[in-house]
Amino acid sequence: MDDNLKLPYWAIGIGIALAATLIVKDPYISSVINLISIAALMAASLRFVMLMGELNFATAAFVGIGAYTAGVAVTILDWPFLVALVLGGIIAALISIVFGFVTLRTKGPYFLLIGFAFTEAIRILYSKSMVLGGNSGMVGIFPPMALDAWMPTFVMAVAAILIFGLYVLERSDFGRILTAIRDNEDVARTVGLNILFCKIACFAAASFAAGIAGSLHAFVNNVISPGDFSFLLAAFALAYVKVGGEDNVVGPLVGAVLLVTLGSYALGLGGQEHIFYGTAIVLAVLLLPHGVTGIARRGWALIARKEK
């Protein structure tokens, strides 16, 4: 590892965020913080696959798999909370390895649309399964009582650890391989890399994070239904990445904070919510091609130049 990791910044950032969750006592704000943490984790997972140049719409499916795994583990099998939480990630990663082995031979729009189809197929499968509660979904997925008051801190801590983990991977040699695959797969292959293996590894790591996001989603909401995990979930994750800026790891976080907060406000607009949210996304992609962080960075560069 090199000193490129900017560890102090991460430590301070995560520290401040966690401290903030400890101060908040209002249950509504706590619920919004939970949503933000989960959204940020999903967006980071989506962006990690974008490193190798693929748009992974199956993210929504893996979030769902994580959530349903946690739900089954807790409500049917009566397994402990932490086991259920981690299992959500593991099962999602395992399924993603099989799915990736089959589908990562395709690229670009085909991979995007196949992920889309997979998401919809999995969603219908839940609704047909009586064990999983059919379309009414599963209820009673509660975290342990003792954790109730600390939930926002816990959720954010888990999300932060995973996002940091993905960042470390991105900065490692493995991350450079992914970028090489994105830039030119054939060149990467000629230097003797097993491209499919690398792609699957990347996909599995991202899906593990997505699966954990799903477990957290299940424990935070206590109730899950097939409708929660439609392709729109991945579309929103993509919106967080795009609005925040995909060039660096902070972008999806900024996007998640901005859009989830805006979305919570927009909920009060009733039927107009879609108009508001849609306009926000359209304007953001048209006016901010590198996202909010792109603008911030440009502004920073401008100031820095003036000072010199």
Partner: protein, 395 residues
């Protein structure tokens, strides 16, 4: 006086006027009624109509002097949020209603998955909830704060199916089709049991995905079995109409049933003349000698606002407001737990006419179901006609 000065006076006057009226409004206490309803997607009309009916009942009550608890007069205010028919959005709506709006009473909620999400929060936080959601898993002694605001298949089908069976004793075979969602799955399981008791043979029972627009293949499948009765259970009216039209063009003739069908308009919109003779269990008629002026007027207003005639779901949102008024006044308290305690024993004025209370010991083990009349209707000459009206007995 210069123009500027006079302007200042006008502005000042306006500010004081506004401030005064705000202060006046504050003198009367408000009880917020939260609504968790679909306001987008294919369920938007039902949600909008539900919000309309909640507001209608609230303004009627407010104009008649509000809700009185001791010396304090309360006014109702309806606050609706879009639950998009899924649990995740249902949770967001629940959090917003309970923890941001500070709602203590849910005036109505629509959609099984979001209602379950809502309920998991309301029962813990001690908030009282009215719902249209079906399913015995939502009511019972474990959920003391939950009440149902419309007839569910448990109430409707034991009245509707025997009626059809008696009217058509020659019909011996049946095919069923339901949407693959919570309400469809639950309707199917109740209907299956009730039909079996009548001795009619069930040839098949299928499900389709909501959002489907092409019903030819399934209509071909249904017609090929040549059933005497086709039961479209919990299908939304537009979908049911489309199936009936395809069946008609395939030459199938027989007894048509849309068990929880709510109105003729939606069916006719897609089914045209093919919907003639359909039996429905949740339809409400707005023409005929027994319809009151009040019912007619509210229905006309609703048609203007949402483009469709009112249905039983939306009317449930009207009845729940009156039930809440009665409950709060009987409990002499606005504490949801106190209100829920007296609720099973109060009676209130229903939109259908008359005073009713709650029952449901036999089906659910507790009295949480409004004792609403079950109305058997049939489409005759393009109009919905009431065939029978049963006020269910039982505890």
């Amino acid at each position: 006086m210069s123009i500027v000065k006079s302007m200042k006076f006008v502005v000042l006057g306006a500010v004081f006027g506004v401030a005064g009226s705000v202060a006046g409004a504050n003198a009367q206490e408000i009880i917020k009624l939260g609504l968790s309803i679909p306001l987008s997607g294919s369920g938007a009309t039902w949600g909008k109509g539900s919000e309309f009916m909640c507001k209608e009942a609230a303004s009627e009550i407010n104009e008649a002097g509000g809700v009185k608890v001791g010396d304090v007069t309360y006014n109702f205010e309806c606050v609706g949020y879009d639950n998009k028919y899924n649990a995740a959005e249902g949770t967001r709506v629940a959090q917003t209603l309970l923890n941001r709006e500070g709602v203590k009473f849910i005036g109505g909620s629509l959609g099984t998955a979001p209602v379950k999400a809502l309920q998991s929060l309301t029962e813990r936080q001690g908030v009282m909830i009215f719902t249209t959601a079906w399913g015995s898993s939502i009511k019972g002694p474990d959920f003391p704060l939950t009440f149902t605001q419309m007839n569910t298949p448990f109430e409707i089908l034991p009245q509707l199916i025997p009626y059809i069976h008696q009217a058509h004793p020659e019909a011996k075979t049946l095919a069923m089709l339901n949407p693959n969602d919570a309400s469809g799955q639950e309707t199917e399981s109740v209907a299956n049991g009730v039909w079996k008791k009548t001795g009619v043979e069930i040839l098949s029972s299928d499900f389709y995905e909501r959002g489907t627009t092409e019903f030819q293949p399934i209509a071909a499948r249904l017609a090929s079995m040549k059933p005497d009765i086709i039961d479209l259970g919990g299908m939304p009216p537009a979908d049911a109409g489309a199936v009936l039209r395809e069946l008609d063009s395939l030459g199938w003739k027989g007894v048509k049933v849309v068990e929880v069908g709510t109105g003729a308009d939606g069916l006719k919109a897609t089914g045209g003349d093919a919907v003639e003779g359909v039996y429905m269990g949740a339809g409400v008629t707005f023409d005929g000698p027994d319809v009151t002026d009040h019912q007619k007027k509210v229905n006309e207003d609703a048609r203007a606002a949402i483009g469709e005639s009112l249905n039983a779901i939306q009317i449930g949102f009207y009845d729940s407001v009156y039930a809440l008024k009665a409950g709060i006044e009987a409990a002499k308290s606005i504490d949801p737990k106190e209100v829920a305690k007296v609720m099973p024993d109060v009676t209130f004025k229903t939109f259908y006419g008359g005073e009713i209370g709650f029952y449901g010991m036999d089906s659910y083990g507790s009295r949480q179901q409004m004792r609403l009349p079950v109305i058997v209707t049939q489409i005759q000459d393009g109009k919905l006609v009431e065939m029978a009206r049963v006020v269910p007995d039982g505890k």
